[in-house]
Every structure is written in structure tokens, then in C-alpha cells.
Amino acid sequence: MAATSSESIEDLLRRCAVSSGDLSAWEEFVRRFHRLIAKVVLRTSAKFGGVSAGVVDDLIQETYLKCCADNFRILIDFEHRHPDAFVGFLQVLAANVARDYFKSAYSQKRGANQVESISEDFTPSAVVDGAGSPGSIERGILINEVRSHLELCIEGRDKDRNRRIFWLYYRAGLSAAAISVLPGIGLTTKGVESLILRMTREVRERMLAPKPVPRRSKRNAGEGILSAHSF
């Protein structure tokens, strides 16, 4: 059977794993996932200081070979819980292959089981923004203030999800695209952007209000957001 780009990932994996010697299946597999694997290997390598293109090629090949390990057990047993499940899995696999390589390389460079001693007159420097610092206290107050405003803005069955999205965006710094692929979010990138925009508007209006805005009626409760007063 000739591979087609419209073939589902599930079918493609089955052909790769079950139909031993199906060259067209593996050609399609490599064609479809090469950029994905290369991207993750390159980015992970960059975090560790970067490597030559030859090593990147080796790590990419190693990722493919991991898919075949144990008589394609990974491909056979994979549970396609959602359409992008295998893409996520392959990304983690590629990242792990690259990380394992660098861990091994660094441990050889440094020498296994070797520790460095600290001189007796070593004095650790104070942490500028550590717990208890003025900056940390101010930030804590700000977080509490925003939290209280946010709790007035979100309601309904998606309340927990919306709260999580808000904090992951503003506090952890995740992009809308990154949030949209997280498990349990169930929104597209545009959906996350739109939700953040609405929550930001609500919270911002409450932050500007001279006194706490009383809780309004359950308008838009189904979407998990309450609308703020217009200005």
C-alpha cells in the first residue's frame, strides 16, 4: 500500500509496526516527523550549548530507532487519546534522547563520582529577589490583589481552567500557543488568546476601580467569565 499524507497517524503507525518491511510506511513516517524531531533535538541541544550538525543527525536517527525498540512495542502499544497524542510523545522522546546524550557527555567530561570542594572562606552572596526581599513582598501583595480581582471575574464550570490559564500566562509566562496544547485545556491558540484578552480586560478594570466592584449577576457564567462594568 502506498503511503498517503492524508493517512491518519494511527494507521501509519500500525503499518510501520505490523507490516514488516513496508518501506513506504517508514518513508512517510520520516517525511512527516522529521521536522518535528529535528526541531526538538536542535532546541534541546541549544540549551546545552549546541553541538555539531553531525551529532544532531545522530540524535535524530537515535530517536527514530527508539521508536523501533522492543519490536516496535512503542508504536504497537501507543494509545491515541487525542489526535496530537503521538506528536507530543515523539517530542518528549526526542528531547529525552538529546538530554540523555548531553548528560552522558558531561558526566564523561567531568568524570564520574567526582566532587569539588568549596574553600573555607567561601561566602555565598545574598539573593537579591529571594523570599523576604522587598521585591518579593511587593510581588506577593500584587499576586494577592490580582487573585482577588480574578476570582470575581471567573465563574461557571470552566472556572478552574480559566484561572489556570490566566496564571500560566501571566505568572509562568507561557504563550497562548503553549497553553493550548496542555492537557485538559481544550482550546485552540486563538481560543486561549481570546480568553486571556477577556480576563485581562476584566481584571484590569477591577484593578482601576477605586473600590471593590460588587459581584455581578451570572451573565456569561457558562463561559467561565463575568463581565466587568464598562468604563
Binding site: 513496508d22 536542535l42 540549551k47 525498540a69 500584587l142 500560566l168 505568572r171 504563550s175
Partner: protein
Amino acid sequence: MEQHLNADQIDELLRPPRGLQTGSDSDRGPLEDVCAHLRSCKSCEQQIMDRKKAMEQLALLKFDAAVSPGPQCPPGDVWMEVAAGIASSASDKYLSHASECDHCGRLLNQAAEDFIEELSPGEEAQIANLTSSTPGWQTRLATKLSDTQVFTPKIPAARHSWLPSIVGPLTPSRLALAVALAGLVVLGIRDYSLQAHLSSQSLQATADVQRLEQDVLQQKTQIADLTAQVSRPVPASAHAASQPPEERAIASLVLDAGLTRGAGEMKRLSVPLGTDLVRITLHVTDRPDGVVREELLNFDRQKIWSQELKASAAETKSGSLMLLVPAYLLTPDDYLIRLSRETPDKPEEVATYSFRVPR
């Protein structure tokens, strides 16, 4: 522009960092008009200033410095799977934690950055320049993957090891030779182990088949013996002697011809644990003579047992037929017995009987 700015226009002017935006360029409206209005309207200008300040406050929520993990923080390696969208029973808990923890939120953000779909122009160029991006390399790899079953070699941990000094730089021809040799070795080992595994499975299967055939043969012999014994005319005084020679547990049932329509009127046959055979006596309206074919069907009308019966003189006289069925066949279900007789044209149905084996 006479009207004051609306919420969308203010949001557009405040354009949050990191590309947070909705709508297309055409939805944004004429920004020139907005700016012109802003210059002439103190009220709107003040609103923009206030909201800008609020947005700056929100931007301070992000904490860029590294933070030590707390006692509640999960292991650092969970964030890669969460960032890749791999759901687990704990992913909800992890996400909730990461949204409130600076340490874990940072780790999740770092992991997510690796998986962002969009490639920068630099990354595009890097990937395009890789040897692995060439069609030739990909075809060779696909060939190897399709040929190799359990080939999972470990790549050398680092390029600065002793290996390059011995083998020199890996040219494509050397690499192909090495891969071919390794592939041959692995295929040989795999074939050997597969053959050994298959032959042991084959032996086991043959032994199982032989054992089952012996069981069936033994059971058929016993049924034939019992059928012969029961069919033989037995004097009343000798009834005790007509019992099967071995102490076999037999359940009995007498059935009249005709299908029953309701569950309530269906005859029930209890098959106690340890029962070997079931003796079913069928009342036949027409005097049974000659050879009759009996078929036992389950509720799904699947044939589970069939045999040919020849009525004895006593059976012909009494208008009944007796058949023996192995008890293990009669699991709880509804059953149908169909009697038919061979005619020159086609099998002719003689009678049908139904009964139920309750749970």
C-alpha cells in the same frame, strides 16, 4: 472621529506583550483615527494611561529568576510530558500547581518553549542544512527502519572519545558498511531467537491439539456406548444393570416438539456442577424411523453440536428419541434442537424443540 475609544480600541493600543492579539489586521480599525482622537481627548488619554499602568502591573507577575523547589513540587521531569500535552491522571494537579508555583511554572515554560510549533528563521535554516534533511539520508533511514526490527544501538556518548582516532571521520560509505554489518548481526540473532520461539510454540500447539483430539474421541466413544446401552430394550427388572458402567453424572430432560414463545413456558434444564452428560428425550409426533439428523443451536443460532440418530425399535414404538450431549456444551443460554431427515431433494425438518439452561 467624534466618539470616545471603545474597549477594543484601547486593547489594540495597549497591545499586550508576547503577541497577544485577536482578530485580523482588518478588524483592528483605523488606528490613525484612534491616535488622532487620543491627541484631542484628555479623557481617553487618561484612560489609556491608567490601563497601561495596570498592564505594567500584570507584567510584574512574571518572575524571571530561578527559584528553589518547594516540598510540594513534583519531580522536574514531569513538565516535559505536560508541556507536550500528554495527559496523565496527575496532569491536572501538576498544571494547577505550576500555575501557582514560580519554580514549576518556570520549568513548564522552559519545556513548552522546546515544543512550540513555529520555527524561527534560524531554526529553519539549521534544519534545512542538516544531512538528515536530505531525501537520500531519509530514504536510507526508512529502508533501515523497515528492514530492522530490534536494532537500537547506542550512539557514542561524545565525539571527543577515543573512537574517532581509530576509525577516523565517519564517511557515508563507512557508515553504510557499519550499519549493514550491524544489521546482519542483529537480523541473524533475531531470526535465531524467533525461530526458537516459534518452534517451541509449535510443539506446544501440537501437543494441545493431540490432547484435545483424544478428549473428543474419548467422549464420542462414551456417548456412543451410552446411546447403545440406553437404546437397547431393557427389562424392568434389569433397569439397575442398564446404568453406565462408570459412575457418570447425567442430567435428564424430556421435551415436546414445537417452539415456545414466552420465557415462562420454556423448559428449563439445570446442569449441576460435575455433570458429565445430558440425556434429552424428544417426543416425536411422527413415528421416528430411519436416520434422523439432530442439531443443537444456541440462542444466536450457532450450531454447537450435531449427530445422526437412528431410532431403536423401542423408541419407534414409544414415539421418542433419546440423545446424549456433553454437559460442558450447555452453558447458560437458550437452545434449540432441530431434527431433520434427509430426502432426495433437500433435508426435511421433522421437529424443533427449545429449552433453557438457567444461570
